[in-house]
């Protein structure tokens, strides 16, 4: 047992990607396939480096991040408030729930032609799409989280005389927190996915989606692939950060409960 299981697992999981890259490099350099269809890994790395050396690429990334951040924040805050309202009041649920559920069935992408007609090819429809994408999961998970708060907590809080805002802040939100953070993590993923829809369908000068689209228009596959990698990597980093934050929040809550 000289090789630990972890190393073994790592080696095992890297075999297929490695093989793929080798076959890819071989096919691309053999000249069977035109390089604009299948650029070699080498070419992609070069494109990657030149892209990141350029200052412009940073501007594209910044534009995308800003868009997502704005939409994500608005969607999360409004989704949280809406979920809180429906979770706390059965009447509110009965009034808004059915309508919300019907609207939710419409694929978000389907709204794009309509909101372009309403607001033109501007930043607003892009933000709206991202906001809606974040709104749904936060609403649903906040609602579900509140409804799953054990009855005993409410009984206990009435013993303590907690009411109104104090009840929400001390009991409801802490108890529903894991579900809410799940919703927020999902919301980030959804916003990031819909950012692509926003940038590909609503033309813009700046954004990672724009770069990918540019690669397609110029028949430059390397550019497309670099864009795809950028989107994937950024999405991964952001989700990881939010997940860690969520974990930290939940952990803090558990400790407080014990003391």
């Amino acid at each position: 047992m000289t090789i630990s299981n972890k190393t073994k697992a790592f080696l095992g999981s890297s075999i297929v990607p490695l093989l793929l890259v080798i076959v890819w490099q071989y096919v691309a350099s053999s000249g069977y396939v035109a390089s604009f269809i299948l650029p070699s890994p080498n070419q992609i790395i070069k494109t990657f480096v030149t892209n990141f050396v350029e200052k412009e690429y940073a501007l594209h990334i910044a534009a995308s991040l800003k868009r997502v951040l704005i939409g994500f924040l608005i969607g999360t805050v409004s989704g949280f408030s809406f979920g809180l309202l429906m979770g706390l009041s059965r009447t509110a649920e009965k009034i808004f729930g059915p309508f919300f559920n019907v609207i939710r069935q419409v694929p978000i992408i389907g709204f794009i032609p309509l909101i372009i007609m309403w607001f033109g090819v501007t930043e607003l429809p892009r933000i709206i799409i991202i906001t809606v994408a974040a709104f749904y999961p936060v609403t649903l998970n906040t609602f579900a989280g509140i409804r799953n708060v054990p009855k005993e907590y409410f009984e206990l809080s009435s013993v303590y005389g907690y009411k109104g805002l104090k009840l929400i802040r001390r009991i409801v939100i802490p108890a529903a927190l894991p579900s809410i953070t799940t919703g927020i993590t999902l919301a980030l993923g959804m916003s990031w996915a819909m950012l692509m829809a926003a940038e590909l369908f609503i033309q813009t000068y700046f954004g990672i989606g724009t770069r990918i689209q540019l690669g397609r228009d110029k028949f430059n596959m390397a550019l497309v692939i670099v864009g795809i990698i950028t989107v994937g990597a950024l999405g991964f980093f952001m989700t990881t950060i939010v997940e860690q934050l969520a974990k930290a929040l939940d952990r803090g809550k558990i400790i407080r409960k014990e003391t």
Partner: protein, 264 residues
């Protein structure tokens, strides 16, 4: 105790649910009558309704819906079956899981829509590109749920299968699939739901038929009623598909709880 939206409300509660739609309708009609927005941007609800009826009568809607449903079906078939096969493989064999699992997880980080320009470069904007794109959307929920179900088959069942000497096909059809069924069905439901979502995306990239095409045309000709009609149709079909799939799920998994209890 399951906590779901739309629990069985009584009549009074159902009426409460009508408040918002009616309010929106009234607001909409009011805005139109007050000429707050140009007719180009907001048509009266009645006009929208007439447009939908008109599109239905002329057969435009039906034929385009057929094209769209066909695409969703083919895309789901392609992506769903690929996800199912790989999911079963990964669930049964740790080697396959180690080889493919991380790769799939990495690929999953890329938003599906980002693939579309690449697909178009490879295949051109044709039918295959659209179906391939939908297949990508259908693939992920299927592979993850199938994997979860198959890898979660209790060790007892594997042992039992060994005792009965069940091999290959029989092993799959008698032990693995039935035991993993709840997860697989969930995968199918999510997979078809996402296929519907990505159908719209695929069609907005440019097509000459389908519900998405109706909306693109409506936008280009500045017929907002056609665009809204398309939206209503997409939403309604999505709702119907989702409801049917939920019913299907309940039907297939009926009596599951007692079955599991009996086996344990």
């Amino acid at each position: 105790m399951s906590l779901k939206f739309l629990q069985r409300f009584n009549v009074k509660d159902r009426l409460l649910g009508l408040i918002v739609p009616l309010f929106v309708l009234a607001l909409w009609q009011g805005a139109v009558s007050q000429h707050l927005f140009s007719e180009l941007l907001l048509v009266p609800p009645l006009t929208l309704w007439n447009t939908i009826i008109e599109l239905f009568r002329s057969g435009d809607l039906i034929s385009n819906i057929q094209v769209s449903l066909n695409r969703v079906f083919l895309g789901f078939l392609l992506g769903g079956s690929a996800g199912f096969i790989l999911g079963v493989g990964m669930g049964l064999s740790p080697v396959i899981n180690r080889a493919l699992g991380p790769l799939v997880k990495v690929l999953q980080q890329v938003p599906e829509l980002a693939w579309m320009p690449m697909i178009i470069l490879l295949f051109g904007i044709d039918e295959f590109a659209r179906i391939f794109f939908i297949a990508i959307g259908a693939f992920y929920p299927m592979i993850f749920n199938t994997y979860q179900g198959v890898s979660g088959v209790p060790e007892k069942y594997h042992e039992l299968a060994r005792v009965f000497d069940y091999k290959s096909f029989r092993y799959l059809s008698k032990v693995i699939i039935p035991s993993a069924l709840p997860s697989i069905i969930t995968g199918i439901r999510l997979s078809i739901g996402l296929s519907w979502m990505f159908l719209v995306g695929a069609e907005l990239f440019g097509t000459e038929s389908g519900v998405g095409f109706l909306m693109i045309m409506g936008r280009q000709m500045f017929q907002i009623d056609v665009v809204m009609a398309g939206l209503v149709v997409i939403g309604t079909l999505g709702l119907i598909i989702n409801t049917l799939l939920k019913k299907f799920e309940q039907f297939v998994l009926r009596g599951r709880v007692s079955f599991d209890g009996g086996a344990a």
